[in-house]
């Protein structure tokens, strides 16, 4: 794939807390509502809602991963824009979720205790799904050696909070 074309995709991964990626990439793989979607240069206009999962992209001959917990992706004119309320690097996602949960708990008031419980449970479910995902990628990486995955990511896959 490399060297076939000089054209690259522009990938932007954006969250309310900042941008995680804004660079030229060779390809992007993300988990849409109907399964994993791979995007390369010249892709048709495409908009997808995202499930919780990993986003993999290749830039500067290196594969990179991000954890994305829902959101939406849009592909238009070789620009891929991924927006997500919660997304981060695999080694930081646990910390991010913890911070969000802590901040949310601090804000909880008596009147919205009912809705809080559901949200906390939802957060727990998402966290569990990501743990499974991250550990699966660690195994794949171990077998195929397709990407560099830090110790923290393996830890995130095995450990609980």
């Amino acid at each position: 794939m490399e060297g076939q074309t000089d054209k690259k995709l522009r990938l932007r991964v954006l969250t309310p807390r900042g941008s995680l990626c804004d660079q030229d990439v060779d390809y992007v793989i993300f988990r849409s509502a109907e399964g994993d979607a791979g995007i390369q240069i010249g892709h048709e206009p495409f908009t997808a809602t995202l499930n919780e999962g990993m986003l993999v992209y290749r830039a500067n001959s290196e594969a990179h991963t991000l954890v994305v917990l829902g959101g939406a992706a849009s592909v238009l004119d070789d620009e891929v824009t991924v927006i997500s309320e919660i997304a981060d690097h695999p080694n930081r996602i646990k910390q991010t979720i913890k911070e969000l949960a802590r901040a949310r708990a601090a804000l909880a008031e008596e009147e919205r205790k009912g809705s809080m419980d559901i949200q906390v449970m939802e957060m727990g479910l998402r966290r569990a799904l990501v743990r499974i995902d991250v550990s699966a990628y660690s195994i794949i990486k171990g077998r195929a050696g397709i990407m560099e995955f830090g110790e923290d990511a393996r830890e995130a896959g095995n450990g609980g909070d």
Partner: protein, 290 residues
């Protein structure tokens, strides 16, 4: 006539007030830097999200969906953002006035979602329907609050209790330009006929155009509310800086005037005492001579 002791007490009291206003100014300066950094980080998210919504609307022309219905002259909901605390000049009163103006302009059954104690109290005092109020999030907005606010608005919209949702907040243009504005956030704007894709392409949606809109629109609402809350927080701190700066300067002026009066009074007291001593001494001398 004012006593020297009384003036001294007033001077002391004004100096303490100046210390407080200066501290508040410094705290507000730190907070605004933090909020502006958060705004800067959030800006691409809101900007590109708006772009995605524009593209989706462009490619879903003709798709009938409740979130893209043309604006109806029915009932409305207003999300109004103010501060929780005062001591920030006319910031709160300006945005509260804008909210009331909009409610009166709509001239119909308006349901309000208030962010900030000042807005909640202002609307309740005027007997408007405050569906839900969110306190304690104005100075340091949290995305979770924005999500709760948008969930309340979306719920009202879905149930058919309201036909459109507006947001009233103060837009941060610069430290000196704080502008209360009103924006419609639901239903989403329908694009012009000329705004079609020039190459006539079709967009593929997963799962489908309607399902995608159903999922994306509430997310966009949360993003818009969060953006508005960050803007409002920056405006509140900016207004507080200006207000506290003016208060500190007024304190300095008062201290200067009172110090002058205090010194004059003290000086006249000393002069009077000297006069009395001299007069006393002269009287003694005269008695001795005679």
């Amino acid at each position: 006539m004012e006593s020297v002791q009384g003036l001294k007490l007033r001077l002391h009291s004004i100096s303490s007030t100046r210390q407080i206003t200066r501290s508040m100014q410094m705290i507000a300066s730190t907070k605004i830097q933090k909020t502006l950094r958060r705004m800067q980080r959030n800006a691409p998210y809101v900007e590109h999200f708006a772009g995605i919504i524009r593209d989706v609307m462009r490619f879903t022309r003709g798709v009938r969906h409740r979130y893209v219905a043309p604006p109806d002259a029915g009932r409305s909901a207003i999300i109004a953002v103010s501060g929780d605390r005062g001591l920030c000049g006319a910031y709160n009163s300006n945005v509260c006035r804008e909210a009331v103006t909009q409610i009166r302009r709509m001239n119909r059954d308006v349901r309000c979602v208030a962010i900030g104690r000042k807005m909640r109290d202002h609307l309740r005092r005027r007997k408007y329907i405050v569906e839900r109020a969110f306190d304690g999030a104005s100075e340091s907005p949290f995305y979770g609050t924005a999500r709760d606010v948008s969930a309340t608005a979306v719920e009202m919209y879905k149930q058919g209790a309201v036909d459109s949702v507006f947001i009233v907040y103060t837009q941060y243009e610069s430290a000196l330009s704080l502008l209360p504005i009103t924006k419609r956030i639901l239903p989403l704007s329908v694009p012009d006929e000329n705004d079609a894709d020039p190459r006539g392409r079709q967009m593929r949606f997963e799962p489908g155009a309607e399902e995608a809109l159903e999922y994306i629109a509430p997310l966009y609402l949360s993003a818009s509310v969060y953006g508005a809350m960050l803007n409002a927080a920056a405006c509140e701190q900016s207004a507080r800086i200006m207000s506290m700066d003016a208060a500190s300067r007024n304190c300095a002026d008062m201290i200067e005037r009172l110090s002058l009066r205090y010194n004059r009074l003290r000086q006249s007291g000393i002069t009077q005492e000297l006069n009395e001593i001299v007069s006393g001494a002269e009287a003694l001398l005269t008695t001795e001579e005679s």
